[in-house]
């Protein structure tokens, strides 16, 4: 059974058709890359899957449950987490609080217990603090737990964003251009890192990326989008030589 299945997804902004008739199946433990020129509708797709936008037409099912129409936080609870193209950490808050916020759905106490600091509040806060710190230790961020997230260097901010996403204990992780602004050396390290989190946390991953080096290196399957529609799908090696893909990226060949 596929983990994620999108059928005939169409999304329009006013007149603009950002995604048109998109079909997609994702099996558990897969690592799929979505590539395409700027404005092809890749990030819109992520926003549709995570509930930021509501698809104009079509259905998306995650582990057999319908996603379209659900709120972002309940979709997250079902097991989908993501990172952002332009890092969206809670900049003024500490590294620890960034992760603790992501445990919101996992903490069980009532507003009354929170207002009076009684009952389950104490044990739950302790449990979550331990879990958060454990997660930060895995990512070697524990020494920076009390530092404001916005003051971390760029690479660590990317790392923290992934850690924060993993705090919600997802089955499916969506990475939106994780290698943006990285040099080839850093990309090597990132590739190993993504492999490692996939194995450690038993993840299924969808990756949006422009850096061909990364996509070709780690993805098992690629989907190429252009103007909101799938123009090619298949193994990375086959995609590279696909004339349609070359056309989308480089333009049509001039016939003489």
């Amino acid at each position: 059974m596929p983990l994620l299945e999108a059928k005939n997804i169409t999304h329009r902004f006013e007149g603009l058709c950002a995604v048109s008739d998109f079909n997609f199946r994702l099996m558990p433990q897969e690592m799929v890359g979505i590539i395409g020129p700027n404005g092809a509708g890749k990030t819109t797709l992520f926003n549709l899957i995570t509930g930021v936008y509501r698809a104009t037409e079509g259905t998306i099912q995650f582990a057999g449950e319908e996603i379209v129409g659900q709120t972002p936080h309940s979709i997250n609870k079902m097991g989908i987490a993501r990172t952002f193209q332009n890092i969206r950490l809670f900049k003024e808050l500490s590294v620890l609080d960034n992760v603790r916020i992501a445990y919101y759905g996992k903490i069980i106490y009532s507003p009354l217990e929170a207002l009076l600091h009684i009952g389950r509040f104490r044990t739950e806060e302790k449990r979550i603090a331990d879990m958060a710190m454990e997660l930060l230790t895995i990512f070697k961020l524990d020494d920076l737990a009390d530092v404001a997230a916005g003051s971390l260097p760029y690479g660590l901010q990317r790392k923290l964003e992934i850690a924060r996403a993993l705090a919600t204990e997802p089955k499916l992780l969506l990475l939106d251009e994780p290698a943006a602004g990285m040099n080839p050396n850093e990309i090597e390290i990132l590739m190993e890192f993504i492999h490692w989190i996939k194995k450690t946390f038993q993840l299924t991953i969808i990756l949006i990326e422009h850096q061909m080096r990364l996509v070709m290196g780690i993805c098992e399957r690629l989907v190429v989008l252009d103007f909101g529609a799938t123009i090619a799908e298949g193994l990375p090696a086959n995609i590279q030589n696909n004339p349609k893909v070359m056309e989308a990226y480089l333009g049509e060949e001039v016939k003489t």
Binding site: P72, R88, L89, L93, R100, I128
Partner: protein
């Protein structure tokens, strides 16, 4: 951090270690309660000073509660006086017309509480537009809300319409104000240092990222608005029974502006800041009374200077350690210590 706040912070830390986090609060509360009872009963302080202290307390409640929305959540509510009006009218009607005169002294806290609950229910109504509306637009919604409350009160003859409502006994005493002030600060502090408080902060930082990280933003907004308006209502009830006369014009946009000034003077997202802001503003207005009308020139001027040199207020986005729960204060230290000890324990 500039030099002033560095030394200020050093002093605060030293004071904190001197008093001891655990002992400070129980001692402060008992001492404050005893002193306020003594001041009210034995007339240690004269009536005028007592009245000023009562206003300081009421303003602290108003400032801390508004800071929850404007500072911690990062919205801009300009209708706080509206909630205050609802609390003031409900509490006054109860003590004047509903409760038997003989037992009104005992039932005063019930009246104040009822005012708070009434305001909280209306706060729930204001929370609903906040689901979809943000920033400037939500500010306009709260502005409209304040106007609606004022116009409604002006047109209800049963509560005196524009002439106002009177007949309340002077039930707001220093001990009661002290009690409600400590309670409101404590509860809002508790809220801030819970998952809901972290949710409130995450909405300020990035609402969409928060909702994608499992934060139920609607739930968080409802709780924040209910708690904020509840305490505004409490402050209203206390205010009405301190002044013994209320009319709708007292709770117009100018009153809301007063509270806003105290919030931004003291500093956003800081309980210590709210308390400092409320104390400075209330006392300064009294001290500058001899200046007459010039007072109203000086105060806004100060505000302009403050916004230029310290746009986040005196304590903006920082908290005095005495208001941080011991758990959060020491959390990182404790966890690191645990980590250090863990390998030894297993070995």
């Amino acid at each position: 951090m500039d030099k002033f706040s560095a030394t200020y912070f050093k002093l605060l830390t030293r004071w904190h270690t001197l008093t001891g986090h655990r002992f400070f609060w129980p001692v402060f509360i008992v001492a404050g309660l005893l002193f306020s009872i003594a001041a009210a009963r034995l007339e240690i302080l004269d009536q005028y000073v007592q009245l000023i202290l009562i206003y300081v307390g009421i303003n602290i409640i108003l400032t801390v509660s508004l800071n929850l929305i404007n500072g911690y959540m990062g919205e801009f509510s300009v209708g706080h006086a509206g909630f205050m009006a609802i609390g003031a009218y409900i509490a006054s009607i109860l003590t004047v017309s509903v409760f038997p005169q003989a037992s009104v002294n005992f039932l005063f806290p019930v009246a104040v509480l009822a005012g708070g609950i009434g305001a909280a229910l209306v706060g729930l109504l204001v929370a609903i537009p906040s689901f979809k509306t943000r920033g400037d637009y939500l500010a306009i919604v709260t502005l409209a809300f304040g106007m609606i409350v004022k116009s409604c009160l002006e047109n209800i003859d049963a509560v005196g319409g524009p002439r106002g409502f009177l007949g309340m006994d002077k039930l707001t005493t220093l001990p009661w104000v002290f009690f409600w002030t400590v309670l409101s600060v404590w509860i809002i502090r508790n809220l801030v240092y819970s998952k809901f408080g972290r949710g409130v902060l995450s909405i300020r930082e990035d609402e969409i990222a928060a909702s994608l990280m499992s934060v139920n933003t609607r739930q968080v907004k409802i709780i924040a608005f209910i708690v904020s308006s509840f305490f505004a209502g409490i402050a209203g009830g206390l205010f009405a029974h301190a002044l013994q006369f209320i009319n709708p014009r007292m709770f117009d946009i100018l009153k809301s502006t007063d509270i806003l000034i105290m919030v931004y003077l003291g500093g956003i997202a800081s309980i210590a800041g709210s308390i400092i802001g409320a104390i400075i503003y209330t006392i300064l207005l009294e001290v500058l009374r001899p200046l007459g009308i010039w007072r109203m020139v000086l105060m806004p001027l100060m505000l302009v200077l403050l916004m230029i040199y310290r746009p986040r207020g005196i304590m903006g986005l920082r908290e005095a350690k005495m208001f941080v729960p011991l758990r959060d204060l020491l959390l990182v230290k404790i966890l690191r210590q645990k980590k250090k000890e863990a390998p030894n324990a297993s070995a």
